[in-house]
């Protein structure tokens, strides 16, 4: 069963014979289906927030599905990921992870980078043709699925760290929690700390995305209007500014 927007025409280098045959028969291979499901799930987790608090049950079920896929892919050895972030980037990671929630779908589709964030993956750089050595670590968690697909075709080194995905997933939850003292808290130290109470942030942070659509991968793959994302853009600009300050200091 094919998800719209994810048709793959190029089957070169596909290790999976079934997949090759599948290409002939136009029936997606198990790996491809699994990959589609992973993409779809990540998009659902990150794009589905309106003005009202998100449905926690739904989010938890989707996150569990993502973990399941990841575990299976890890066992299969088909898991390919960008390099692990080093711990020095930890504070920026947290800023990054908030940002990804605010990213408009068109920005994600274009692989837009905001300077000053995290480390960059070689694959990513290669794919995007960017000279910049910076990108977002969790940005890549969204980009990565697309990379993964191209990687599957290209049969990249399967030894690459699998831990990063788990970290990305954790970061999604961390943005909801913001529990530990870090640069974000320092930046907002003037704000009443109760704002960052676990519960408040869990339900509050995810609201800042204010994305309009939840059409799965259709939104993910097509440039959509950004009219609904004006709030996110201003947040994005603020975060840019904040990170610039951090980087310079």
């Amino acid at each position: 069963m094919f998800v719209r927007g994810l048709k793959r025409k190029c089957l070169d280098g596909e290790e999976d014979i079934e997949g090759t045959l599948a290409g002939i028969k136009a029936i997606p291979s198990y790996n491809l289906q699994r990959q589609s499901l992973l993409d779809m799930s990540l998009v659902k987790l990150q794009l589905c927030h309106m003005l009202v608090e998100p449905n926690l049950c739904r989010s938890v079920l989707i996150a569990n599905t993502v973990r399941q896929i990841q575990e299976e892919m890890t066992q299969d050895g088909t898991w390919q990921m960008i390099n692990t972030q080093n711990t020095g980037q930890a504070s920026l990671d947290r800023l990054v992870s908030t940002d990804i929630l605010c990213r408009s779908s068109s920005e994600q589709a274009e692989g837009k980078h905001v300077p000053g964030y995290g480390t960059f993956s070689k694959d990513f750089e290669g794919d995007q043709g960017q000279g910049s050595s910076e990108t977002m670590s969790t940005a890549s968690s969204v980009q990565a699925p697309r990379n993964l697909q191209s990687n599957v075709w290209e049969m990249e080194n399967p030894q690459e760290s699998k831990g990063n995905f788990q970290k990305s997933l954790d970061q999604i939850f961390e943005t909801l929690e913001n529990k530990s003292p870090n640069s974000v808290e320092d930046l907002f130290s003037e704000v009443d700390n109760s704002y960052y109470d676990l519960d408040t942030v869990l339900t509050g942070m995810m609201s800042n995305t204010k994305m309009g659509h939840c059409d799965g991968l259709e939104t993910f793959s097509s440039p959509t209007n950004t009219a609904s994302n004006s709030n996110c853009k201003s947040d994005l600009n603020e975060l840019d500014h904040i990170v610039e300050i951090l980087v310079e200091s």
Binding site: M1, V3, Q33, R34, L37, M40, K44, L51, V52, E53, N55, L56, C57, R58, V60, L61, A63, N64, T65, Q68, I69, D170, F173, E174, L176, E177, K179, Y195, L198, D199, T200, L202, T203, G204, S207, N208, C214, G216
Partner: protein, 446 residues
């Protein structure tokens, strides 16, 4: 008679409430349906925060064929949309649940809740009004005291019946997450409210305090993998309640053992069928509703594809499993994509616990007779809305040749979902919410 075999029960259209407009105003979408304990009243809540109560008219000897119809008795705005300024979030006014209190005097009491706040409403009738005040005239204008030359005693005079709804208690600020269930205890003094991670116990008289009796929130939210999906008190034992989870488990707790009931007394879980395992297994096992039988001996749970009946004395598997719409099993990926897989269907018992009912898509709803093991699929639609028209069983064709009158799986309308139904406590009268319409069906009177 009641509890009769399925083949003897023919369901007929009785009434439909709501507009026929093609464009549905979102606020009119019915979000909960509940009969009171006698079945005299039927309450609905909608996305716009309104509660509409229907009352059954007295049966008339002149029209024995027409079993008492339900007419609007009271309409009121229970919850308003709110804005949480601290979190920059809207709090929806949608009524998630209504639960009636047993009637103890002339007034009716019900609990209604949205995501955050539970309210106790008193619905009472006024059919008299005082007349003959000394200090004000009939219009209510104050009289000049110097003009009064004699005193009189005000008397009560009859007036047109007026039904008033007044909020008697507001139970607020106790839930960080979204309330999914409320349940009145059999002691009639307390009730519980459950959200995704916590369950609180309230006394009806006390609004500024509640006891937390279940808390499954992990210390580290990154470890969150399971949420509470529904909860209910035992119908007779005021110390016992159950709650269901997104992992398909049910926990029965006894409030006598500890103040915080994090350790269950019983744990109901069916072992997974490895042959049916897929990435969607967990999602479809998530329980959307849990209901005690009237007898208190069984619990019924609804997950995405099935309804299960559990014996309280057997924790390792249900005693009965009914397939609601197994033809959707091969469509789970599409249903995941369009989010239908997260739809929360409710389920209900009939008064004698012999038949169970739940909704499906395409405005279909299903009934299962536990004794005969027969089941039927019926449809709530305007086409079948002639008075006392008998509902024709519907059938979904799974593959191959589609017979006439059957509908193929791919033709099902997934936007028409029956999530909320209710069964009269003692008679074969059911209320089925289809988006913005409320259908009332009764069994055929011979």
């Amino acid at each position: 008679g009641f509890g009769s075999l399925m083949q003897d029960v023919l369901w007929c259209f009785s009434q439909v409430k709501g507009t026929i407009d093609i464009g549905v105003t979102e606020a009119d979408i019915i979000s909960t349906v509940e009969f009171n304990h006698t079945g005299e009243l039927l309450a609905t809540g909608d996305k716009g925060g309104r509660v509409v109560i229907f009352q059954r008219e007295q049966e008339s000897k002149n029209q024995p064929h027409r079993r008492g119809e339900y007419n609007v008795y009271s309409t009121f705005q229970s919850h308003e949309p709110e804005f949480d300024y601290l979190k920059s979030l809207e709090i929806e006014e949608k009524i998630n649940k209504i639960r009636w209190l047993p009637q103890q005097n002339a007034a009716y009491f019900l609990l209604s809740t949205n995501d955050k706040t539970v309210k106790l409403w008193k619905v009472s009738e006024r059919d008299k009004r005082p007349e003959g005040y000394n200090l004000k005239d009939e219009d209510g204008r104050l009289r000049d005291p110097s003009m009064i030359t004699m005193l009189r005693v005000p008397v009560l005079r009859p007036m047109d019946l007026m039904v008033e709804a007044t909020p008697r208690r507001v139970f607020a600020n106790a839930h960080t997450y979204h309330i999914n269930s409320i349940s009145v205890n059999s002691d009639y003094e307390t009730y519980m409210s459950a959200d995704d991670l916590r369950i609180n116990l309230w006394n009806f008289e006390i609004t500024n305090q509640s006891f937390n009796i279940v808390d499954i929130k992990p210390a580290n939210m990154e470890e969150l993998t399971e949420v509470i999906t529904a909860a209910e008190f035992h119908p007779h034992h005021c110390n016992t309640f159950v709650y269901s989870s997104s992992k398909g488990t049910i926990r029965l707790c006894d409030m006598r053992t500890a103040a915080l009931c994090d350790r269950h007394a019983k744990f109901f879980e069916e072992p997974e069928d490895p042959s049916n395992r897929s990435f969607f297994s967990e999602i479809i096992s998530s329980i959307s509703d849990v209901k005690f039988s009237h007898s208190g001996r069984y619990i019924m749970t609804r997950d995405y594809l099935t309804v299960k009946v559990w014996d309280l004395n057997m924790e390792n598997r249900p005693i009965e499993t009914y397939q609601v719409h197994d033809y959707l099993r091969s469509k789970l990926c599409s249903l995941y994509e369009n989010d239908c897989i997260f739809d929360k269907f409710e389920c209900v018992w009939n008064g004698s616990d012999s038949v169970i009912m739940t909704g499906s898509y395409n405005n279909f709803f299903r009934m299962f007779d536990r004794n005969t093991k027969r089941d039927v699929t019926l449809e709530a639609s305007r086409e079948n809305s002639k008075p006392r028209a008998i509902l024709k069983p519907r059938k979904v064709c799974v593959g191959g040749k589609r017979r006439k009158d059957e509908i193929s799986v791919d033709s099902l309308d997934f936007s028409k979902k029956i999530l909320h139904t209710a069964w009269h406590p003692s008679e074969n009268i059911i209320a089925v919410a289809a988006t913005n319409n409320l259908y009332i069906f009764q069994d055929k009177v011979n």
